[in-house]
Symmetry: D2
Subunit: 289 residues, 4 copies
């Protein structure tokens, strides 16, 4: 294998000796363990591990590594995945009218602060095309109505599949995706919701926050699931506000939170820091990376 | 009037010239304006003001001041109140089993960081009596069942009224007060809810927070109203948590947030920084106080 | 005067009746007071006020207003300024190699979240020219060496003056400006320092933060003064970090803080929310704006 | 060994296979690994590990465990320690005039939120004795002058040693301890400094913070070292403040930060989450504990 970082994500029933068995496996194969993070959910008796390996000292091929690991994984009932740093991930960004998250993701990707290729921007409106052009990213304007929803989603899916998109980011795409579409990309769609979920689910969260008179507003990035705004939460943040804030100023203050929350969630996903378990996202912190 | 600070809280329909009229009134009466804070709600066309006056240079009596102010207030449709710093407020603390908020309020009051007399502690359990004894505060154990609720609340009300209690603090009092009781003390009961409202209303918020996998937990201090957990929010705060947090650790982390949030809300109330408008609490910041 | 918002900033010795006198003045001239914020520094016996007026109902000219106000201001020893919302301010952004603050300011200005014209970008390197071109902003590459510093600063000053620049933003411009240059633009140059000042003044703050093992890193926006990193602080923020952070990750985490801190400071300045007093910046919060 | 939690803290030169070797060791001895946290400092090529073991399934004695572990540790150059949950730690609290940290630590310890025995309170003043009496903790009033410093410290040391104190907490003890004293208790003395170090080292940090016009104030808990305010930082936090804050209000706002920061640092120490390396404290987060 060429010099690179290999990241394993593992979920399995908890049992004695797991760390020892897994780390011994990688040690024997000649890897240097860069970091080894684990989490035990004692309530559900489940074990989670993220291991990052340096492949510098090994000649093992990806195929052999994975075949060998499968022999360890099967009896221990691992649900696992492996990722190699020589594979750059492709992302697609879906937007409607709001530009702040789009700018932020494009800037981070262009400046190397998000390690990915932005394959395309898809929108149900043409409004944000100039931003795509500034950053030289293909822009697909696919309008949608109740009648054309199925057809439009098919077009989106084709674009994603043909371009081998690894992650879809709903950067304030103000359409509800169908269950069919969402189930096609499990844990591959990240949405940003402009409130501190589960508070203010659904539409107009800033207006609701004003009316409720909250003293903090927030944003939540989560994996899209069929139940709207109910998917596993990856990242949340809030900012203090006062009675002076109107729905308009809440929206403006919130925009900055949305940008940071979405960018961190996307980075965590691209960096293979997340394991989903039921409706909860285990998000390992960066390990000196 | 003897040297002291006088605080007016005013709410009225917005109109031209309000600041000028009000501040001229106090200037002419010989007061020095220590601070003058205002808030205009342009959506509801309402004006709010908090004025703090230094009474050092005036000989005017409280009665004359209030009678004169009434002449200004009536045509301008003021909803107003006035408070004098020579009147120390009496508070009652209601608790059940949980001690952290109680300790915190008692310590702050004892050390002069909350400007009030703690008149009594009322509990439906006897468990926290030793803390009351440590701090030498009268403790009333008034058990309550569904059947005796009306009677128990009558006992509580009598205690509050006889002792001229100005503010009731529900410091994790795990009983729902009746509408009759709550309506008897409008904007005079502060409750601490152990979540970031409106998320996780009702019972067991830390368990719900765990199950939803949120990345921040919080607490909310609000005025008690008939609709449970729906009263005007005075103060909120949150703290980041991770997937490692169990319901038990969330509870422990949350306890520290609850203490700070409740203490700040109580201080804001005692310091006459709050005007309630509908379901929103206008909370003026301290002005160099 | 045409319909617009007029903002007065006032600093003067504290004395009885100031609010009444000032607000009565504006009321009599026919203005509606949108907000009136004050701050009394009791230690230095100084009074500060920010008044925002709606000019809708007045026919008074700017000249007459200012002449009349001067009559009020002179005997009361006001240090004051007035700003009109029909005058859009011009800003110049100075950069070296680092792009994140530049992108952020350009995006906010383009999307109408910073109310100003970006007149130009000035850099001692040519590296960031493509960003200027993306956003169609004039870019001036003015290299500087110890020998050419005086001459280069003269070129910069000429550019600023010819283009009537109101505010200079040092968005990670890694050069120390001369005292002559700085004194030419008092309270007109905002710098972002990548640490929580006064911790880690000078060069390489992220490296120093790593070595000191701090658990929070931050950024500070301040007015540039002759004493480097000692100017009045406008805005600061921090973010928790752990022992896992290397100087490189601190730099990356810090970049997000720098962006928010600088953007907020610039908005506060453009919005006339700041009065400088000695080495302290009085920053009034937005008043429902 | 009786059922309990055993915690190992390990520091050593980084090398291949460490996780595998260490976790295999414990697995073979029959322990269940509750959590295994590691940190690699790539700059210094050093490896750190915290392992928590459940001793339920083992009959091994403490002596045998430690002797066996030494055989693993010696060739790999481990700097290590082991702690057993059946050993409750003794703490001593040193104070002068300020009570808020003292109350907080006593309350947490009394209510079981800090797992330790408070063996004594030592003060150079008699002022806080009533608090010690409320909580029924021995109080030693040991006044100190420049002349008696050596003698007083000897008395303190004797008290600590006779009572087998494991941790000394300087909870606003306003005396500088001698190098002799500090070196006697390496990584066994925690101090709270009332600023965000390294900003505002030395005396009167709130006054300095006011004068510098900072927009956040903070507190820092650190191990005491001979260089005052330079010891390894365990915990820090800050709170936003405005120009309205006077040195007095900063002090009051700061008190709440000091309490939380010191309590968290003490909990981290008592819970064996900290490894010191040079001037940096590696603070592992709780692992579902």
């Amino acid at each position: 294998m060429k010099p690179q970082v290999v990241t394993f994500l593992i979920k399995c029933p908890d049992q004695k000796g797991l760390v020892a068995k897994i780390t011994s496996f990688f040690f024997e194969k000649g890897f240097n363990i860069l970091s080894c993070q684990q989490y035990v959910n004692a309530i559900e008796n489940t074990y989670f591990m993220r291991v990052r390996l340096n492949a510098d000292g090994t000649n093992i091929s990806k195929e052999t590594l994975e075949a060998s690991f499968l022999e360890l994984a099967t009896p221990l009932k691992f649900d696992w995945s492996v990722n190699y740093s020589d594979k750059k991930q492709n992302i697609a960004i879906m937007v409607s009218h709001t530009s702040h998250n789009l700018y932020d993701l494009l800037e981070r990707s262009k400046e190397g602060r998000l390690d990915c290729n932005v394959s395309m921007i898809i929108s149900n409106h043409d409004k944000l095309r100039p931003i795509a052009e500034m950053f030289k990213i293909p822009f697909y304007h696919l309008p949608v109505t109740k009648e054309t929803k199925q057809e439009q989603e098919a077009q989106v899916a084709q674009l994603l599949d043909v371009n081998e998109v690894d992650l879809v980011i709903m950067a304030r795409y103000m359409q509800i995706l169908s269950a069919d579409f969402i189930n096609r990309y499990p844990e591959k769609i990240i949405n940003i919701h402009h409130s501190f979920l589960p508070a203010f689910q659904g539409a107009n969260p800033y207006k609701k926050a004003y009316e409720r008179g909250v003293k903090l507003i927030g944003a939540t990035a989560h994996y899209a699931t069929v139940d709207l705004d109910e998917g596993p939460i990856i990242e949340q943040d809030v900012k203090p506000v006062t009675h002076e804030s109107t729905p308009t100023t809440l929206k403006r203050i919130g925009a900055d939170i949305e940008k940071l929350v979405l960018a961190r969630a996307v980075k965590n996903h691209l960096n293979h820091q997340i394991i989903v378990s039921g409706n909860r996202a285990i998000v390992f912190p960066e390990a000196g990376e």
